[in-house]
């Protein structure tokens, strides 16, 4: 493999990692702060993609579709939280698994009934549908560069939010001591709903960004969900930094594994990575709680 190709595959790995980070960030927040295992995170990803595809059809604009679909998935997430998940925070993890598994079935079927069984289409914005020449002999799809940019931007924003704002302080405090936050006169219920909505919006955003590249279809969330869980666990539950490092790691390992290893082995590469990581660091790379 020559240097150009190597660099190209590195970019591909980074781009995949950044997409995974958008998914994993919301998952790890909800997991770390509310101690909730949310299997339906992939359904929110799917909802994001479907909503954006429909809105693009209505408005004819990619940007408008994103701008409207993000708050829409935020709202969907908040409704789900208020109606069902709120009752599950003090429950056993297994009860959460069962209930959110129920949500997956519900959302998959709902989408199939509303949008039909055929896959949906989401067009690339005209300005981004070409390849950019990064330097002579190396072209890269413009849209994928945008994904990398959006992912890094959102990552930075999240860092700032968690470490430098009052909301972030409450989130961090809520993760370690719920009663204390309550005693500060903060309505923990509202805080949780907001955090869940934020996670949902991030998942939705990941779905929307994936929309023009991928087929928008029922069940598109599940494979990504598994990968996102892998990222969360490798990174350490509750850690945004861990999620970012792990996401890029997974993206790179998957990409280079696919290129360098025979098909049968490369399918297992991520699982081997996770198993190895956890044998080495049983609480992930950056354990959030000691």
């Amino acid at each position: 493999m020559d240097a150009t190709l190597l660099l190209m595959q590195g970019l591909n790995g980074l781009q995949l990692g950044v997409m995974l980070f958008l998914m994993a960030a919301g998952l790890t927040l909800v997991f770390g702060v509310m101690n909730l295992i949310n299997l339906s995170h992939g359904s929110l990803y799917m909802m994001g993609a479907y909503l954006a595809a429909s809105l693009q059809q209505q408005t004819g604009s990619f940007l408008w579709a994103i701008l409207l679909a993000v708050p829409a998935t935020l709202a969907v997430g908040m409704v789900v939280e208020v109606v069902t998940l709120r009752k599950l925070y003090d429950r056993d993890h297994l009860d959460q698994v069962l209930a959110t598994y129920g949500l997956i079935l519900f959302f998959n079927e709902l989408v199939r009934m509303v949008w039909g069984p055929q896959a949906r289409f989401m067009a690339l914005p005209e300005a981004l549908s070409h390849s950019v020449v990064l330097f002579p002999g190396m072209r890269y799809p413009a849209y994928r560069l945008v994904i990398i940019g959006v992912g890094l931007g959102v990552g930075g924003l999240l860092f700032w939010l968690i470490h430098h704002t009052r909301l972030g302080m409450l989130i961090r405090a809520g993760a370690s001591n719920r009663e204390m936050v309550n005693a500060l006169g903060v309505n923990i219920k509202v805080l949780y709903t907001v955090v869940f909505g934020l996670g949902a919006a991030l998942a939705g955003l990941a779905g929307m960004m994936a929309g023009p590249i991928l087929s928008i279809e029922v069940g598109m969330g599940e494979p990504v969900l598994i990968l996102a869980f892998i990222v969360v666990v490798i990174g350490g539950i509750g850690s945004i930094k861990g999620a970012f490092v792990a996401a890029v790691l997974v993206g790179l390992v998957d990409t280079f594994g696919r290129v360098l290893l025979p098909a049968g082995v490369s399918s297992m590469s991520i699982c081997i990575l996770m198993a190895g990581m956890l044998c080495w660091r049983p609480k992930g790379l950056f354990p959030a709680h000691g």
């Binding site: 598994y101 998959n108 009934m113 049968g264 399918s267 996770m274």
Partner: protein, 310 residues
């Protein structure tokens, strides 16, 4: 008699073949096989406190043992079924030893990772038809007798296996081993300081659970006369997890009820509408929200029977 409920249940199950419809005999064979599978998971989950999301690996290992041995002309159940149990146990030993380094959500994910590795291995197994899987020509025989091919006979064999697993597990959880493993679930440090090495007990529990799952796998391969990677898929692990939680974990009757409830509901709903999942999904949520300890808690006088009464 102190335990009328299991007797009633097993008695009723004996009635199923009497209705004379092959379909119900086979459906309930499948249900009982899944009940065995679910009990084995519950042994780890409800009693041992180990949440595995990769239990299908052992189920599939049992099924593939049947398939691979049949390719080599070995068809006696007396060899094949113990082999299936043994293969599952051998597979569980390293997986369990490595996975038990972690706990909680990390344990869930590492078991999933190992199961996926096994899944992809079976997926690429050309001699067993790769992703398509392979058809078995006949059921296993017993000392040259091919009677298991009859669905009613086979039903009774499965019934016997379920009863044996049920009684065996009841003895196990009532034994000293059962108390230690329960103690480890509730407070690992304390049991450690009492001189019980938690790792050894947990690994033993993991391996026993896996071998029972291997038996269930051998049984399902014989029931469907088909071996396919779908037995190993992570959704299969999720499915059996749902059965256990739905029925009520930490009990031995719960998983049986859970397997029955889930598979019957799927069967009945899916014959009414192709959109059956939109009914099943919310029903699961309702069960979680309003039957906190699974379906078994809805039965009268069952609350105290749960392993952790806390």
């Amino acid at each position: 008699m102190k335990r009328p409920l299991p007797i009633l249940l097993f008695g009723l199950l004996l009635l199923v073949p009497l209705c004379g419809e092959v379909f119900y005999t086979r459906l309930f064979s499948r249900i009982m096989i899944h009940a065995i599978f679910a009990i084995s998971l519950d042994l780890m989950l409800g009693y041992g406190g180990m949440v595995s999301f990769g239990h299908a690996a052992f189920f599939g290992a049992g099924a593939y043992t049947v398939g691979i041995l049949s390719l080599h002309g070995v068809s006696s159940a007396l060899i094949v079924w113990p082999a299936a149990v043994g293969v599952a146990a051998l597979l569980a030993l390293p997986i369990g030893a490595l996975s038990l380094r972690t706990s909680g959500a990390y344990f869930i994910m590492i078991t999933l990772a190992f199961a996926q590795i096994v899944y992809y291995f079976a997926f690429g197994l050309e001699s067993c038809g790769g992703s398509d899987g392979m058809r078995l020509a006949t059921r296993n025989t017993v000392g040259g007798w091919a009677g298991l091919a009859g669905h009613t006979v086979y039903y009774h064999v499965v019934w016997g296996c379920l009863l044996a697993v049920f009684l065996g597990c009841r003895r196990l959880v009532g034994s000293r081993f059962g108390f230690v493993i329960g103690g480890i679930r509730q407070n690992e440090a304390r049991m450690g300081s009492l001189g019980y090495a938690p790792f050894g007990y947990k690994l033993t529990c993991f391996v026993i659970a896996a071998s029972i799952a291997g038996l269930a796998g051998a049984l399902i391969a014989n029931e469907a006369l088909y071996v396919s990677p779908s037995f190993l898929h992570w959704t299969q692990s999720g499915h059996v997890l749902v059965m256990v939680i739905l029925g009520g974990m930490g009990t031995l009757l719960g998983p049986i009820l859970g397997a029955m409830a889930l598979l019957l509901t799927e069967e009945v709903l899916s014959s009414f509408t192709e959109h059956w999942m939109i009914v099943l999904g919310p029903s699961l949520i309702v069960v979680v929200l309003y039957a906190r300890r699974g379906l078994i808690s809805l039965l009268p006088g069952r609350r105290e029977a749960r392993a952790d009464a806390s």
